[in-house]
Subunit: 328 residues, 2 copies
């Protein structure tokens, strides 16, 4: 059987995750990585991965079934997704929740005009968490949704610390309060009056020589929006310890709905993730959905989609007979 | 806007659950309950619920958008689903895993011939658990699935105890071992050599007067298939205590996949339910999916489906704009 031909556009942590994920899916093959950097400067995870200049994608029309877009949501994807969707079926992980509708409409127009299919905002949030928010609300209309993140690395908050003068390296973990999690999971339906009750922020910082730790700790804790609204702990550690314990990108969290069916019948549904590598997991979601995009495009579907529009059967490479007998 | 017209076929715990669930869904209305018993003998939950004889369904063609079938899987649904799918769009909760393919094929043929749409094997297992099994396997192809049930009431095992001479009332709860659950949730990927390591069975029994408790306890614990393969605890209680604490039908459990993306990157995904009423929750799932069946049938879709074939967007009564802005 012919394999599904995948391209990776953008080669950061997410792009590397897609390269890894494809090795777990024998019905798919990687045509190559497309980068705006000098292709010769790129070190891929696997030796047999081909690297092309982003400029070459025009020559790849018809040679790639689905292009997985691995750029960032702030500036890359709003431009790249419509541009590339004019040539290829695409999957992106656009995660700026406030702008999803706008992005959807932009991409939908281009895809319809060019008979391509584009799945936007895939990953875990938005993505699998969205799927469960919609499912839970439909099944338990009378209820409350809770979303907790962590324990996990926050890229944005880590960056914010690294911008402080005197900081050499830093990571920030978002940590939910066990107490609050327990209340939610027990179905106590707590009302949290501030984010301070839900999660706290734990920072591990390596200082430049002669930096003033107490000054830096204060600067972190008082940083508006990023840290001021939260309880924050700052640990100063050696570079050695940092390199040993803090280079992974763990994350996770859960969506939980606490609802009632009858007047006093409590029902709780939860979807949770515990991830050692956020980018590798997100990439695995993108790859499973790339299979769905491939199948749907073969059926003639065009335009923009979200995960809410795709039946789960399209994600698998099992036959209907297998699904009926072994999965249902 | 016109409401979706629902019929309930069969009026046991599940049918009552559907009656309750419809009150939480303002875009749907209950046309009536259809029963094989004398309609006058039926006490419905809500006063305004109409009850018809099952024989009258022939006169209801065109007056019901989706018939929710609430019979049992052993003998009712294999006959009823194809029969009623010849006249109406239907949703059933057929849960005999070994026979799902056969049931699907029977129903598919009738539905195609009669231009109706039939969703089979809906609920939570099969149903939402199936959805997550398929999703998890697609996203983490390299991994292991775990399914735990409980703490929850097992109808079959409760019935088995009640058939013992000298037993007046009985319930049996399936209880997972905390230790085993913890290993699974920690990603330790335990291999269980027998069901005895996974769950145990807790029984609450009210005896007839002068029954021999030690003889009955032995008979329960040694019952082949039902109790012999498990660790079983038997508590003899008063009828008063039974009626106070053991008339609910709680259940739940989880599907968890422990997988790897890169060579050593552990990723865990979990879907779990904690239900005070198993039939009311199952009914709520059937009702949300009845909405999807209605929408899909309006699009001209016919034949048999499972939950794996239906996009989650079809379950909700939100517009696409609302989903893009508030759910994704």
């Amino acid at each position: 059987m012919e394999k599904i031909k995948i391209g990776i556009y953008g080669y950061g942590n997410l792009g590397k995750g897609v390269e890894i994920a494809l090795k777990n899916n024998s019905d798919m093959e990687l045509v190559g990585v497309f980068t705006r950097r000098d292709p010769d400067s790129i070190e891929t995870i696997f030796d047999d991965t081909k690297v092309y200049s982003a400029k070459e994608i025009n020559n790849m029309k018809g040679k790639i079934d689905v292009m997985v877009l691995c750029g960032g949501s702030a500036t890359d994807l709003p431009v790249q997704t419509p541009e590339i969707a004019s040539m290829f079926n695409v999957v992106d992980s656009f995660d700026n929740h406030a702008n999803i509708e706008k992005h959807f409409n932009n991409v939908n127009q281009v895809s319809k005009e060019n008979n391509t299919l584009a799945l936007i905002s895939c990953g875990w949030d938005p993505g699998l968490f969205s799927l469960n928010r919609a499912l839970f609300e439909a099944v338990l209309p009378n209820g409350t949704n809770y979303v907790f993140y962590g324990r996990g690395l926050s890229q944005g908050h880590s960056d914010a610390i690294r911008r402080i003068k005197g900081v050499k390296k830093a990571v920030q973990y978002t940590v939910p309060y066990e107490e609050s999690v327990k209340k939610v999971k027990n179905g106590e339906d707590p009302q949290f009056s501030s984010v301070r009750e839900v999660m706290w922020r734990e920072c591990f910082v390596v200082l430049e020589e002669e930096a003033d730790s107490s000054k830096i700790e204060k600067e972190i804790k008082e940083m508006p929006n990023y840290f001021e609204p939260y309880n924050t702990e700052v640990h100063f550690i050696s570079e050695e310890e940092f390199n040993k314990n803090h280079i992974g990108m763990p994350h996770g969290g859960f969506v939980l709905r606490s609802g009632k069916t009858g007047e006093n019948t409590k029902q709780i549904a939860e979807f949770s993730l515990n991830l050692e590598s956020n980018p590798e997991f997100t990439a695995s979601v993108l790859v499973a959905y790339a299979r769905a995009v491939y199948k749907l495009s073969k059926e003639g579907k065009t335009g923009a989609l979200t995960v809410l529009d795709i039946p789960i059967a399209y994600l698998t490479n099992k036959t209907q007979k297998e699904l009926l007998n072994s999965t249902l």
